[in-house]
Symmetry: C2
Subunit: 262 residues, 2 copies
Amino acid sequence: MSLTRNTLKDLRALAQKKFREEQDLFLIEGFRLVTEAADSDFEFIEVYHTHGAAEDHLVKALLHKLQRKTRVTLTTERELESFTDTVQAQGIAAVLRQKHASPEALLRNNGGHSIIVAADAVSDPGNLGSMIRTCDWFGVDAIALGVNTVDLYNPKVVRSTMGGLFHLPIIDGVDLPVLLSKAKSAGYTVYVTDTEGTAHFDRLKYASKSLVVFGNEAWGASEAVKVLADARVVIRRYGAGESLNVGVACGIILSSMRRLFN
Amino acid sequence: MSLTRNTLKDLRALAQKKFREEQDLFLIEGFRLVTEAADSDFEFIEVYHTHGAAEDHLVKALLHKLQRKTRVTLTTERELESFTDTVQAQGIAAVLRQKHASPEALLRNNGGHSIIVAADAVSDPGNLGSMIRTCDWFGVDAIALGVNTVDLYNPKVVRSTMGGLFHLPIIDGVDLPVLLSKAKSAGYTVYVTDTEGTAHFDRLKYASKSLVVFGNEAWGASEAVKVLADARVVIRRYGAGESLNVGVACGIILSSMRRLFN
């Protein structure tokens, strides 16, 4: 009933990006995220739970379902707490295999209307998570993460997507200038958010195939991306604020696209 | 050059809501926030800085300016770090007096277009900060915080407003049903965001005097507030997401109001 020291060491090491990448794994915690993962096509490596957690009939049913596809291991509260990140892991956590699809897959099979969102060096985990959560709400077709964006499998990103990670295709490690060029050839119009842009976000007629890029919190999108923009989009400021959070900007632009599409 | 043990104890205690309320004070940190506070009408109690920080000519100029209105105290890095919350206090922090205005003041002197935003039991400090930052961007006239909303002077709220706290009137401890009734008498139309609402946010014709309420992250607005709504506003979902962050929802609705006003 007790995990080996090496297993615990490996589980704790999943908090580090380097180790996650080497192992191609990541950790999720809590009943809700594990449930969402179970309904997705992510590959489970192992599930860990406490005795207490399994007393809840919903958790029990989930574990029963998971037993058919992965190893389910009982652990102590103390052990589980030693490798989970939040107070509220609720006695359940899982190790999953990372997914890395090819960015070309994003551009296929998007008949009719299509929205792709790209993150160019978004650096704060909470911001990236908030963007993904927002894209999930607005039914974006796919998300591309540029090479300099924070790691998708960072525990804080995973948590703050609120399940979005398991609902729509997200491709990491993307060379954005290459993707943007291919997207244009495939009929997409490329919008890049830019505080110095001239296209007001809600006066644009968005194309039926749209790709929108959100840049770094401090510097915006990179030059290599900006030169490929069909329009540089700005959200006009009316007050004294110095900036808008990138997750908020993403929500404003997606809501406006949806209004003009539907 | 060294702070007394009692002073340090009091400064550290400002991390606690109870002590902040008893003393009617709060702490801010970092060059940018202290600069914004210096340009506001908040009352300074004392400014603390390290020797190293004062070597920067911008910080030096700020300290010089502050010396005319408050006590400026040199402290060690170690002492400053012991009562500041972030790694990036940049060697400067200040204690300010809290402000508590009457909610009636919100409804006066708003000629022409006016937007007031209210938070009903918003509980996460980052979310409240993000809402205030967003209101600041969109030039909202004032913000009312209902009695069950997280403390405005919580260090994480203060930080995440990104200076918004110093740019627009924010009234805390507001009895929202009372304010809403008075606002209606003063000619405001009251909008309450509600995931079960029927008024689609971007098909509404917003009134020139609008008050918008955002509710608790999990339960939404309270019944006492909802019954006073002229319209219950919803942001339609297009994807699989379970919810939208309240700061993001605030940005979406304010951007839509601004579009229809301007």
